[in-house]
């Protein structure tokens, strides 16, 4: 079958990628990253949110040598670059945010310094406000 194309000319939506699962035990953390990177080409607004055990996805120092799994952590460097590009290029109307829920982070013994990317830490009420604004919510 041939690809079906949609008319998305000029469409600008608010996407949110919700990460709530711990890394490595399941594949969601890795495959959601592939989603996030592909979305950059479409120049949509995007919020990458970490809640519950999802906050462990961006913990520094992942070392998967002994488990033999693929370490997806360096890919967050690419996500951060895409975000910086979007922030700095004034011709592109595209805002990317990386946000962490404070309550989830603290319950899990983590602080901002534990993360491999720069994040905005939001409390539950602020996270709820931000989530309420989102138009397309994708999770894994």
């Amino acid at each position: 079958m041939t690809d079906i194309e949609f008319d998305t000319e000029g469409v600008k939506k608010k996407f949110m990628f919700v990460n709530s699962k711990p890394p490595y035990g399941t594949i969601y953390a890795l495959e959601v990253l592939e989603m996030i990177l592909i979305s950059a080409a479409f120049e949509q607004h995007a919020v990458i949110a970490f809640i519950d055990d999802g906050v462990y996805q961006i913990k520094k120092g992942h070392n998967t040598k002994a488990t033999g799994m693929k370490n997806f952590s360096p890919t967050y460097g690419v996500v951060e670059m895409e975000k910086e590009d979007a922030d700095e290029d004034e011709d592109i109307d595209m805002v990317w945010r990386i946000v962490v829920e404070k309550e989830s982070m603290e319950a899990r013994g983590l602080t901002e310094d534990d993360f491999v990317v720069d994040v905005e830490v939001l409390d539950s009420a602020e996270m709820a406000e931000l989530m309420a604004e989102q138009e397309v919510v994708l999770a894994g």
């Binding site: 709820a128 309420a132 989102q134």
Partner: protein, 102 residues
């Protein structure tokens, strides 16, 4: 925006419902499907989760999933409305956006 939240996990084993209730804004709706329907039962150790939020959230449960699990004759929490797959579609359309709490 007026959100529809869906929860498909048992409140006894998983944290999805608790997270949804923590992060759902007042006035939005929650539809329980699949293993999420157990949260709609009255008289369980987890009934309080929904009873406590009946005032500011509207709750729905998918009847097909209650039936599959043999729960249709069990008492439900007051105010939880049962819908079929067509009703699920209607809820999606009546709200501005859908958030699935996976």
């Amino acid at each position: 925006m007026n959100k529809l939240h869906t929860v498909n996990k048992s409140p006894f084993d998983r944290s999805a419902l608790a997270t949804c209730l923590r992060l759902a804004k007042s006035g939005s709706s929650v539809l329980l499907i699949e293993d999420g329907v157990y949260a709609a039962l009255a008289g369980t150790a987890k009934s309080g989760m929904i009873e406590d939020r009946k005032g500011d959230l509207k709750f729905y449960v998918l009847g097909a999933d209650l039936d599959a699990r043999g729960l249709s004759e069990k008492p439900m929490i007051d105010g939880v409305e049962t819908v079929d797959y067509g009703g699920f579609v209607d809820l999606v359309c009546e709200h501005d956006s859908v958030h699935s709490w996976l």
